[in-house]
Symmetry: D3
Subunit: 226 residues, 6 copies
Amino acid sequence: MPKDHAPPTLYILNPNSTAAVTAGLDAALAPMRGHSHIPIVCLDLPGGPPGVQTQQDIARVTLPLLAQAQALVPSAGAFVIACFSDPGLALLREQLPRPVLGIGEAGVLTALTLGQRFGVVAILPGSIPRHHRRWAEMGVAARLAGERALGLGVTELGDRGQTLARALAVGRQLRDDDGAEVLVLGCAGMAWLREPLQQALGMPVVEPTLAAAAMALGRISWRDAA
Amino acid sequence: MPKDHAPPTLYILNPNSTAAVTAGLDAALAPMRGHSHIPIVCLDLPGGPPGVQTQQDIARVTLPLLAQAQALVPSAGAFVIACFSDPGLALLREQLPRPVLGIGEAGVLTALTLGQRFGVVAILPGSIPRHHRRWAEMGVAARLAGERALGLGVTELGDRGQTLARALAVGRQLRDDDGAEVLVLGCAGMAWLREPLQQALGMPVVEPTLAAAAMALGRISWRDAA
Amino acid sequence: MPKDHAPPTLYILNPNSTAAVTAGLDAALAPMRGHSHIPIVCLDLPGGPPGVQTQQDIARVTLPLLAQAQALVPSAGAFVIACFSDPGLALLREQLPRPVLGIGEAGVLTALTLGQRFGVVAILPGSIPRHHRRWAEMGVAARLAGERALGLGVTELGDRGQTLARALAVGRQLRDDDGAEVLVLGCAGMAWLREPLQQALGMPVVEPTLAAAAMALGRISWRDAA
Amino acid sequence: MPKDHAPPTLYILNPNSTAAVTAGLDAALAPMRGHSHIPIVCLDLPGGPPGVQTQQDIARVTLPLLAQAQALVPSAGAFVIACFSDPGLALLREQLPRPVLGIGEAGVLTALTLGQRFGVVAILPGSIPRHHRRWAEMGVAARLAGERALGLGVTELGDRGQTLARALAVGRQLRDDDGAEVLVLGCAGMAWLREPLQQALGMPVVEPTLAAAAMALGRISWRDAA
Amino acid sequence: MPKDHAPPTLYILNPNSTAAVTAGLDAALAPMRGHSHIPIVCLDLPGGPPGVQTQQDIARVTLPLLAQAQALVPSAGAFVIACFSDPGLALLREQLPRPVLGIGEAGVLTALTLGQRFGVVAILPGSIPRHHRRWAEMGVAARLAGERALGLGVTELGDRGQTLARALAVGRQLRDDDGAEVLVLGCAGMAWLREPLQQALGMPVVEPTLAAAAMALGRISWRDAA
Amino acid sequence: MPKDHAPPTLYILNPNSTAAVTAGLDAALAPMRGHSHIPIVCLDLPGGPPGVQTQQDIARVTLPLLAQAQALVPSAGAFVIACFSDPGLALLREQLPRPVLGIGEAGVLTALTLGQRFGVVAILPGSIPRHHRRWAEMGVAARLAGERALGLGVTELGDRGQTLARALAVGRQLRDDDGAEVLVLGCAGMAWLREPLQQALGMPVVEPTLAAAAMALGRISWRDAA
């Protein structure tokens, strides 16, 4: 905890260098700021890749992410790693004297409170095996209804109409064919999809950065409890 | 969400009638109030049992708890059921148009972000099989290192020195014999134990009402996100 | 055990108030009476709901069911709760000095002796998540091939031709798409479906009240073994 | 089902050649005969080993057991294989037109209705890995609290005082160290231990041949239900 | 280990009597011979069935397989049981002083190094439940994406064009509908399918006899390490 | 596969810079060289840490390990990452056109063929939670009997007498208290312990680099099978 009287900050670390994603996160977190005194600051990773999509991307951002976080420790109350693959989560937890949450982990744990079986809307098919390893590692794979990918490239994702249409199709499959009762958005940059998906599908949709931020704010607060 | 401009309230429902437990919860939640604009109100259940320890206690509080919550819906942002057995959790989720969290569930899910294997400090040995059913139902039993009971009666729990000594002994067994990396306090009324346990054992200890409150505050905030 | 010389009775408790369901159970159990000296008595729950379909229904029948059973203890050898959601099972086991079986639990355990993966024919889609929680709690979810619902309302269930047609369609999906080798009827009131389904699908079908009654009769007999 | 009017018989097949074990089974089943019209006949396997303790014993009895059962089919209602390793269970189920139960499987499934976590009292340490494979195959290993062996040889088992003392010690370990709420006797020849163990330990103890016989009697009865 | 200086032999035991299958295995293993000094000898089981497809086939080959292997011990370095159902695996491990591998087990364990979720291409639908029991017993069922059968009879399997076409269709379903990242050929006699399947589907395909032989050669080598 | 006629090499990559560990691996692999034509070359990682013990060590070696391997691809048949934490395994598999095995994964998979429940002898207690995550991710945690650490520092490990004594004590606990039937050495540098442990404990002990090398040699051989 910061020893002085400045309130500790919750840092949301976007491990890619795409400012638009960081801006999207920042906008998505606005309602939480309305309810909390704790400052929430979203940062991207200068020099990071435009997106984190492969094991190589993950390997490349891990140590820079640690360095970025270490420099922020004095003013930090907690950190959220805002990439659904939770790059560097175990490392930052080992090395930092502050709580660290990952949005993949927190998104799924939150989904477990909203339905017995969760579905994941991934961006790329190639991420699904990596995610499956993660649900297994977390010990929650028995609660997974299924995971399906939008299968859209970066350019296509910019077309919100097309992306929403595809997300609705995938969400319906997860709900109707796989038995999901709750969906998790499998990427930090899809916050705008939460509400329209939720309305159209009639089921809860978890935006994982919001889920992680809520858990992180709690962790900052508890520290004062001693 | 309340339609008017009064901020929605987070109701922490203690399903027993022991005002001292409710007061303890209220005190434990103080630091969270310092960081959030959302009012947090702790209530006990008039006419409830002095404690919820058996399946019969659970059966008896379930419908009164629902009635209590239903009356609060207009001003409610979310509800937390502040009993580690999560009585009525599925029922309130089915019947209420607001998020409902249970402290047993939220405490364990939060512990999953603090260590690979969690230990539970229960009050009574007789609760352990019921909790085991719950971890299995949640699909997280593979993450359980072990659960052990203080084995203290209500009168004895009032003796804080004795209770702390017993909790330390149980915590050491969970850490050293069972391999727990994080502990969860298996009762709503043990918040004062968190900090001394944490210090003495050198491992994180989750107070489950704080864990549930953090998740619930997030859920209230997200509703504004649409 | 009853202390006098009257044979202990197996009570089959239908926790709803629909006499036709109770009569159907009574008829279904006829062949077991032909093989056993132990009286089998089927009762409905006066004042219970017409059917048990929601968490609220479950909450409402739990304590009345306990009261009904407690009054029967002197003449009882064992109890079967004849509702696939096993309402009050943990409670009655805690409070009664007699064996208590639930048809959901016993139906599935019996299915485990008839095939490696079981399918469940539910009435309503809304019950499936509740059942999934139950299979997880029982620790047998790895043996589940799938669960699918007839999706028929109460009035439609009265039309046996339509109900059988729908059950055959659902059973074929469970067998051919999901890989079930044995089916469990997910309701106390579908006993008449067992034989035609079994014949048409060429696979074993478990009627759960018969399954529970068999286990309960055994438990009554063993008590004499001391 | 036998086509004539002679009642179908439940055959309890002891796959070893030790008549004393068969006689013990026969005595243990006496109370079930008092409650059922269905004849129960216990047979040993002429030419079988004195006991079934190794994979080699299992391999040697499998085909003779099938041959013995096949010859009994005309008068049989169902078969119980009365050896805790369930030798030949999958084979007899494949080849016989009658229900076949194994006491290992039925004993454990019955224990699942008597406690959340079961303990197994084995005779020999060398059988425990084989049993672990079986609980895993059955998909119920998450419910296992532990398995411990008496570690007594055949001669020593004949000394009932010593055997009971050892079973009590092992049962206390399973209850107190491993957290078992119910015990299963891991052998067909320990029926006399059930009642004294149950009394001394204050917990239910399943005699697996009784458990299998109850399920088998049910299966015979249901056949008449069509 | 053989005490003399003749190199220990790896025996590949085909538990059926079809010489063409053994010849196919022998051809499939040719590349491994090019890299290893250890002799690899493939044998069929004189008097065995033409194929091992049922529990009865398994029961019938088990003891002859043991006898065959026991006679080979003096010259043996290790044994591979070349039938996907691993008949007699536990028995041979118990009785023989040499390493014993089964191709079902080794094929699946090897697949776990090639993808997060594996698919199995079985010959007959009737084998699938038996295989499911095996994956559960091995504790690896959570990694199974699915298993599907060619559904071709012995005569049809001889038509390589038809068999390949069917294997491609099944492989595509496992990959696209079930999410398999790696396939295992569920039979000893399909080695010729590995390469064309791998090429056409763009995913790794495990030939289980090669997988078992690799593990067995390692075990022979390590023995020299002492 | 190398396109020329030079035999492909199996590279054993020790991701630390301690030449003594590499030399120990090299010696341990000697017997495998006696049986295989495939060259086996052990390399350490210049600039790597003296040992890989933390998440930070893992993060630091991952990209250099990839670079080292990429430079070796032209002559490589396969790679083994010779560190029990399998650093960079997913990354190298993603980026390299050659089979990549990790000794943690291969060691445990091989243990699954030697006993129903495996025990792991770790060096440091701090590695155990990381390993638990790995067994969960691999989906084999149900087969784990337990993991215990030697708790010896680098200097102490140099004292072979003390290390063996400690390994024997830990191995006995895993065998007798935890029920392990087979042990896995949880480090690349403990090969010399295998034989004395195996002899003294009377149970198989897996040296994980040998296990991985065997699987890797097989993978090199199969490539020729097309």
